[in-house]
């Protein structure tokens, strides 16, 4: 497990918990909205992190599931059904479609798989854009309501934020449990050495399919929450560009690190918004963001969460070289002693 040492981890967790619980009291409506947006993308990228970070697959079509989740909720609610039917429906449909997407992964290698998922995304997006009778086409679906829970309305930004926060925590907990169980090791084995894994009895086929399916479910739930957050959906946020951004978020945060999506989604969602408000930046916030990503990758190819590991490795290397110097010095003294 790649965690900071226990004391630091507890401190960070407590601080983080306080922050997410208390922050909305001090933020204006837009700030709360942005925070909710961030949480939704954390959920989506957690799923992608499982698929590409822990299971080592290639997926450049994640936003398609995001979109399927969003449109499922939107279409069902438009037809008069409740959000609480739409949400599990989104999850189930995405699980099924995710399994289907996993099948090419069994037959097609690495880079070709990446392109296959890209193609899948484009296909789904085209359906969203062209099949007006179902999805409203480029006009999209609007007036998506926010749900009520046990009679309590989640219409306002703040209550909806807390609802999304609870969902995020539940889904994180479930994923954490899954990764700690033998499944986590099986996924990692699939990533690190699929041939060896298979010869040890790891069912490569099933775990590959499930890595796509579970990742898809997370994106689907995120999409469902997204639909009610933004209350108007159209195909654009579910195109290949969005998948590429999600991929960027996972890698920049740190693929295979559990907390990577938190940082990655912050970089992808919050950073550009924050940059936009910085004086002198204005129009340049996007090119700066792009340049920052390039610099970040060159400096930290394993993502931001690999910083503790790098510090530890550097310290270990320094200790090892110091130990060698001491050993050499001792040996030299011995020789001198023996000679004299």
């Amino acid at each position: 497990m790649k965690l900071l040492n226990h004391k630091m981890a507890t401190v960070f967790t407590v601080l983080g918990a306080l922050l997410v619980l208390v922050a909305p009291q001090y933020l204006k409506n837009y700030g709360i909205y942005l925070l909710t947006y961030w949480l939704i993308f954390i959920i989506a990228t957690m799923g992608l992190n499982l698929t590409i970070g822990y299971a080592g697959q290639k997926s450049l079509g994640h936003a398609a599931f995001f979109g399927i989740g969003a449109y499922t909720v939107a279409i069902l609610m438009k037809a008069g059904f409740s959000f609480w039917l739409g949400l599990p429906a989104a999850a189930l449909i995405c699980f099924a479609v995710g399994l289907i997407l996993g099948f090419p992964a069994l037959r097609v290698q690495a880079i070709y798989l990446a392109f296959a998922t890209l193609g899948f995304n484009t296909a789904i997006w085209l359906v969203m854009r062209n099949e007006e009778w179902l999805t409203g086409g480029t006009f999209g679906i609007n007036n998506i309501a926010r749900p009520a829970i046990l009679g309590y309305s989640l219409e306002a930004n703040r209550p909806y934020y807390y609802f999304v926060l609870v969902v995020t925590l539940i889904l994180s907990g479930l994923l954490w449990g899954l990764l700690r169980s033998p499944w986590g090791k099986a996924f990692r084995a699939l990533r690190d050495n699929p041939i060896r894994a298979e010869s040890l009895g790891v069912d490569i086929r099933n775990y590959t399919l499930l890595s796509f399916a579970i990742g898809a479910v997370y994106a689907g739930i995120a999409g469902a929450l997204f639909a009610s957050l933004v209350q108007f959906i159209e195909p654009a946020p579910f195109a290949v560009g969005a998948s590429i951004m999600m991929y960027l978020m996972v890698v920049v945060g740190g693929a295979g690190y559990f907390l990577g999506p938190i940082v990655g989604a912050a970089v992808g969602v919050v950073l550009p918004e924050w940059l936009r408000d910085v004086p002198f930046v204005s129009n340049w916030y996007l090119p700066m963001f792009g340049a920052a990503v390039v610099v970040l990758m060159v400096w930290l190819p394993d993502g931001l969460l690999s910083i503790p590991d790098r510090i530890r490795d550097r310290r270990a290397a320094r200790d090892a070289s110091a130990a060698r110097k001491i050993a050499a010095g001792v040996a030299a003294t011995k020789r001198v002693g023996a000679a004299s």
Partner: protein, 291 residues
């Protein structure tokens, strides 16, 4: 029938531009395992470089030469040394994300730094129409196709027939053996990047007059180039040519005979069929899973 032929020939022209971008993309992949998600922007930037030089008063030919030099420097040398070399041993993920960042930076950098508008672009070919047996073809189309073909053939001849070219191929197929044979691997890889830059400049020259220079012109082009490269065969440079032409022609035909809305779907559909049934591409060689 004449409609069909007209669409076919103008499709060949567009397709040959895709072929240029796809060829550079394929070469980069073969030589250094780089998936360049900024390939479309690599075509967009030289278009604006050229416009920039012209607006500074330089004559066309001088601007062109300067653009080629600048492109080779930035998109070849700086890109290789600054981005690809440090990330080479970390696998596909960091390079992919770095080129994504690069494409965002380039696209929006041009938008913020130059202009968000579409700019007319000087054409190499005069505005002439030909009428052959009832089929109307523009000089632009013919010239584009011919010039692009010449460049692609020249590149392939260079790779196959010259010593340097064959050394580059050796590096692409087996880097370790190549370096053991005394081939200067880093330099050969740099040449690949330089060739990609030149191909991108050529593509810019040919595509921009029709579609105008705009900061986002790289997006669609980049995607089509990926598809074309895969369809043709990612481990075979001749595949890029075939893939590009197929995409160009089919797109045009689909747009007219099926529906303009699904024009983009054509490249996608062909791509999906190829990926599922012959993932190594139409001309590609099967890559075995290594134990």
């Amino acid at each position: 029938m004449t409609d069909f032929l007209q669409l076919f020939f103008s499709g060949l022209a567009t397709g040959s531009i895709y072929a240029l971008a796809a060829l550079g993309f394929t070469l980069l992949w073969q030589a250094s395992g780089t998936i360049n998600f900024a390939q479309g922007e690599f075509v967009m930037l030289p278009a604006f470089m050229l416009l920039g030089f012209i607006s500074l008063g330089a004559p066309m030919l001088v601007s062109f030469v300067l653009t080629v030099l600048l492109a080779v420097l930035l998109l070849g040398w700086v890109f290789k040394r600054g981005v690809v070399d440090p990330l080479f041993k970390y696998g596909m993920m960091p390079i992919v994300v770095a080129t994504i960042g690069l494409s965002i930076a380039m696209r929006n950098g041009v938008r913020a730094g130059y202009s968000a508008e579409a700019h007319p672009f000087p054409s190499l070919f005069a505005d002439k129409l030909y009428n052959i047996a009832g089929v109307t073809i523009t000089l632009q189309d013919v010239g584009t196709f011919a010039l692009a073909m010449v460049i692609v053939m020249a590149t392939q001849a260079f790779l196959a027939k010259t010593v340097t070219g064959r050394a580059m191929q050796a590096v692409a197929q087996n880097t370790e053996s190549a370096s053991v044979l005394g081939i200067n691997v880093p330099r050969m890889i740099f040449y690949t990047f330089a060739i990609n830059a030149v191909l991108a400049v050529a593509a810019a020259l040919l595509v921009t007059p029709t579609y105008l220079a705009k900061f986002d012109m790289g997006e669609g082009l980049g995607t089509k180039a990926f598809f074309a490269a895969i369809i043709g065969g990612f481990n075979n440079s001749r595949g890029a040519l075939l893939g590009g032409l197929i995409v160009g022609v089919c797109e045009n035909l689909a747009s007219a005979y099926i529906s303009p809305a699904y024009k983009d779907a054509v490249a996608l559909v062909i791509f999906m069929i190829v990926i599922l049934f012959k993932p190594q591409g139409l001309l590609g060689k099967k890559e075995e899973r290594k134990v």
